[in-house]
Every structure is written in C-alpha cells, then in structure tokens.
Amino acid sequence: MTATDTGPGRGPAGPVPVVDGWFTTGDAPHLLGSRCAACGTVAFPPRPGALCRNPACRGREHATVELSRTGTVWSYTDAQYQPPPPYVPATDPFEPFALAAVELAEERLVVLGQVAWGVGVDDLRVGAPVELVVEPLYEVDGVAHLVWRWRPTGER
C-alpha cells in the first residue's frame, strides 16, 4: 500500500489534519514552519509570535513558510509494540509502523515523522532520500485524521 491509496480525498469523507497549521495537504504536501524575520532561523512546528530560538536574536515576527518536501534520512526505527496513550491505534490488532528522522538540507533541521504506511525499516537507510506524504493517522467517528509521513523516493 502506498500513500496515494489512502491519501487525502480517497479515505473516509471529510478527512481533517490531526493538528491545524502544521502541514498542507493535496498532491504535493509541505510541512509548515516559522522563519524568523530578523535572523532567518526556521522552526517546526510553527511558533507564531514566539521568541526566536536563536539566543542572539530577539525576533518575534515569523513568516509561515512551506518547508522542503524532500530530505534525507538522519535515522530510522519502528514500533513493534503498540505505544501507550495518547497514541491512538490505527488498527486492531496493532500493526508495527516505521519512524524516521529526516534532515532538510535547505532549512538545516531534522524533523521526525512516521514512515508511509507499508514501508518498513528494510526499505530505509541513513542518507536515503525521502519525500513528504499525508496519510490518515486514525479515525474519530468515521472521520480520518491526517498526519505527515515520510516515504522513500527510491532514488539513490
């Protein structure tokens, strides 16, 4: 199964992002971050109005920016046991899923995410290129809640 099988618009009616303002949906989704107007430091998740994380900067004005939708794997693992709440299991019985920390070259930061449904640790390696996809994380009252995930591009 790939992201496009379960992606937005093909799951249950009216899928919604699990959290507002952290990522866009559609065919080429992006994570959304803050870029400090004063020093250019990028942060994910977005931090509207927050003091810039750069200790030498007093910036509080941040532009909301789309982050690179491709990156390289910094490292990866999986969850072989069902995580405890507040994790909401997507399937019963639980099915293991993979996780990756991905380095975005332009923004020079690493973002964690689950790996696209059906992709396991055997399909990953440190340094491998991946792209962002959006897939259902869990359902509440029949409504899919969407989350960002990383999927190998297959390039070397």
Binding site: V18, V19, C36, C39, G40, T41, V42, A43, F44, P45, R53, N54, P55, A56, C57, W74, S75, Y76, T77, D78, A79, Q80, Y81, Q82, P83, P84, P85, P86, Y87, V88, F97, L99, A101, E106, E107, R108, L109, V110, V111, L112, G113, Q114, V121, R125, V126, G127, L137, V147
Partner: protein, 396 residues
C-alpha cells in the same frame, strides 16, 4: 584538590525492583542507610533535597518535603529539584552549592521512585502544546524509539552490528551479578539478547532498560565538617548540569524536530559531548584520569555513544573499545561496573544518585564482587528529558 570540593560522607540505596509500594518507603530506607554510612543523625542534617518524581502525584512533586516528613520533621531547610532523568544530579547540585556558599554544613539528598509497568508515558490529559504529549499522539514515538534512532545511526555510519550491541548487555549483566542492589542479576548470553523480541529496530527487549522502583541517597558535607567525621572522604570534584547550545542538531526526546542551523552554525561540541566536558573543565581532570565511569545505558547502543561523549575514545571507535575489553571489569576503564541501567532498570529521580553511590563505593574499595582495582577517579554521565545534562566527577 580544589576549593570547590564537597565530601561524600555517606551513600545508601534501596534495592531496585518492582513492588509498586509508595516511593517514600524506598526513600526512607536509602536515606537511613546513607545517614548510617555517614555516621550522621537525621536531626543533625541541615538541608534535605529531594529528586522530584512526577508520576507519583503531589507527594512526588514536593519530594524534598515528602522525605523530610517521612523521616520526621526536624526544621531542616528543604528543596526539591526536577530535571527528569537528571533530577538526582540536579538535587545534589543544590546541596553542593549551598554548602559551598557557606549556608550549610551537611545535607541529605534523596531520590526515590515507583514506576508503572511498560513504556513510560506522559501524564493524562490532552495537551496539544506539549511535545512530550504530541510525540505519542502524532507519531507513537516511545522512549526506546528515540534510543533506536541513535543505535541505527551507529550501524549505518560506523558499521556497528547487532553483536556489538548485544556484547554491551552481556558485559553489564556480568558486572551486575554481585551487586546486591541490582534488580536483574543473571548472566545473559549474546544469543539470549538476539533471541529477545524486537522493540524498536534495531533494539531488542534485553537491550532497552526497564522501569524500576528504587531509591538512592547521598549525605554530602563541607570538607571542614567531613574532617570531624572521617579521614579520607570521597570528594565531589565537579557537577555538570549543562543545557544544550543553540542550534542543537541532534533529535532529542521528546522533541519532534531539532533546532535549525540555517542562521547559526553548530559549535564544535554537541550537547552530549558538553555534559562530561563541563566536569573536566571544572575539576581540571580529564578522561585519561578516569578509573571508571557510570553512564546512562538506556539502551545497549547508547552506552557506546557515551564512550565517545565522555572522551574515552574518538567518534566511531566505541565498538572497538568494547571489543578490546577496555570497558569491562579488568579493562583499562570499566564502564558501568554496577551493571548499569541494564541490571537496574530506571528509577528516574534516583538513578543519577545511584550512579554517584556506585562511584563512591568504587573509590572507597567497597564494591564487593565488582571492584575496580585502585580506583581513584570516577565520573557519572546522564541526560534528562527536556535538555538536562548531568555529570558528577568524584575522586579520593
């Protein structure tokens, strides 16, 4: 010897295990053992500092006062310190600095915990602005999953193998066999490790530390006070409670991302490297002076990271140091002679103090069955959630 030394007059621990009793019970036992070891009566203690334990409700949030009341009110000054896994070291630092400021001669530091079964999880309630809650809700990212990211990087970057990681467990299991306070005292083979179920690839069940009940306590005093009680006390030479430096480019529990290095280039020394380094700077000692180290082996692979972080070997060479036997009892610089978290499991606010207890016993030559010969300098290293570095350097 430095002007900023304080004496470790006494140390004491409650056995580590899983009984589910109130944490105060364990704490009292450890405290009374440390007081007896020091030859100090509880009413003579001027300051008590508790390592906070957030899973045990209000008594845990006010651990210093909870322990003071449990031991019997004496009017002693009180403080409570929270630094997640580093809480014990943070509590010890409160005691040390009050002693060095001349505000106090003798202090008792206690950490105790009782832990739930299974994965550690955040407190109940919906908190969409809390990274520690969000990492479970959005990602299902447990503590072992973070440890596994670091483990996998060792494999893909430095060629570490499952066998290397298993060898850490085999070593620590052997170290802990004779430790009366360890929860797990059983020889483990590499085959046992590799046959245990995968938790978070590449880490297996026997490679990630359990959560335990336990308690540890330390009595510290000014050097002047110590001279009235003993001739050659173990000294705390340095304590590190450093935070990261921006930009921290390593993904840290419980965060969903790192800092961005786009505006400011990362420094030469990463956060974990800075932890013991601060102790070396403060004490004037270095990794070459160490007789032993107690490091926070939340996983087998993480112990290998620590070898490099505390300066025992260059980056990428920890597997070879282990294979050469340098970090086993009998080697050049034994690491985790107590058996480490591998044999204890983690009792969060007690663990950094348990590391200090072990180093103190080693430096006094009292680590029966696991003694490092002629131990003169030892270090502890630990990292607590939310940016808490901790390291304690002790010597005779």
């Amino acid at each position: 010897m430095g002007d900023h030394d304080v004496a470790v007059l006494g140390v004491g621990m409650h056995e580590w295990g899983k009984w589910g009793r109130p944490f105060q019970e364990y704490g009292i036992t450890a405290a009374l053992r440390a007081l007896d070891d020091a030859g100090v009566d509880w009413p003579d203690v001027q300051l008590i500092v508790g390592g906070e334990t957030v899973r045990n409700g209000y008594p845990g949030y006010v651990a210093g006062a909870t322990m003071a009341e449990a031991l019997g009110w004496t009017g002693a000054r009180v403080a409570t310190a929270y630094a997640a896994c580093a809480s014990g070291a943070a509590a010890l630092e409160v005691a040390r600095t009050r002693i060095l400021a001349g505000l106090c001669d003798v202090a008792l530091v206690v950490g105790a915990d009782t832990t739930p079964k299974g994965f550690l999880a955040p407190n109940a309630g919906e908190r969409w602005d809390d990274a520690d809650w969000l990492r479970f809700r959005l990602l299902g990212m447990t503590n072992p999953a973070y440890f596994a990211l670091y483990a996998r990087r060792r494999m893909d970057l430095y060629g570490a193998t499952d066998a290397d990681f298993a060898a850490v467990k085999v070593k620590n299991a052997r170290h802990g066999l004779a430790n009366p306070y360890a929860r797990y005292r059983k020889e483990v083979t590499a085959d046992d490790v590799l046959a245990s179920p995968m938790v978070a690839d590449p880490l297996r069940l026997l490679e990630v530390c359990a959560t335990s009940d336990g308690a540890a306590a330390v009595v510290v005093s000014s050097m002047a006070y110590a001279r009235r009680h003993t001739t050659d006390p173990v000294r705390v030479r340095a304590i590190s409670t450093v935070t990261p430096t921006f930009p921290n480019t390593v993904i840290e529990m419980p965060n969903l991302s790192t800092d961005s290095a786009v505006a400011v280039a990362p420094g030469d020394r990463g956060f974990r490297d800075s932890i013991a380094h601060a102790c070396y700077e403060e004490s004037g000692l270095g990794p070459e002076d160490l007789s032993l180290a107690e490091v926070y082996d939340l996983s087998t692979a993480l112990e290998l990271d620590w070898y490099e972080n505390i300066g025992l070997c260059p980056v990428g060479e920890a597997e070879r140091l282990l294979a050469d036997g340098a970090t086993a009892l009998g080697g050049r610089v034994p690491v985790n002679p107590s058996g480490g978290l591998s044999c204890f499991g983690e009792a969060v606010p007690a663990q950094a103090l348990a590391q200090v207890c072990e180093v103190a016993w080693q430096l006094r030559g009292q680590a029966t069955g696991r003694q490092v010969p002629d131990a003169s300098v030892g270090i502890t290293a630990n990292q607590g959630l939310f940016g808490h570095g901790s390291s304690v350097l002790l010597s005779r």
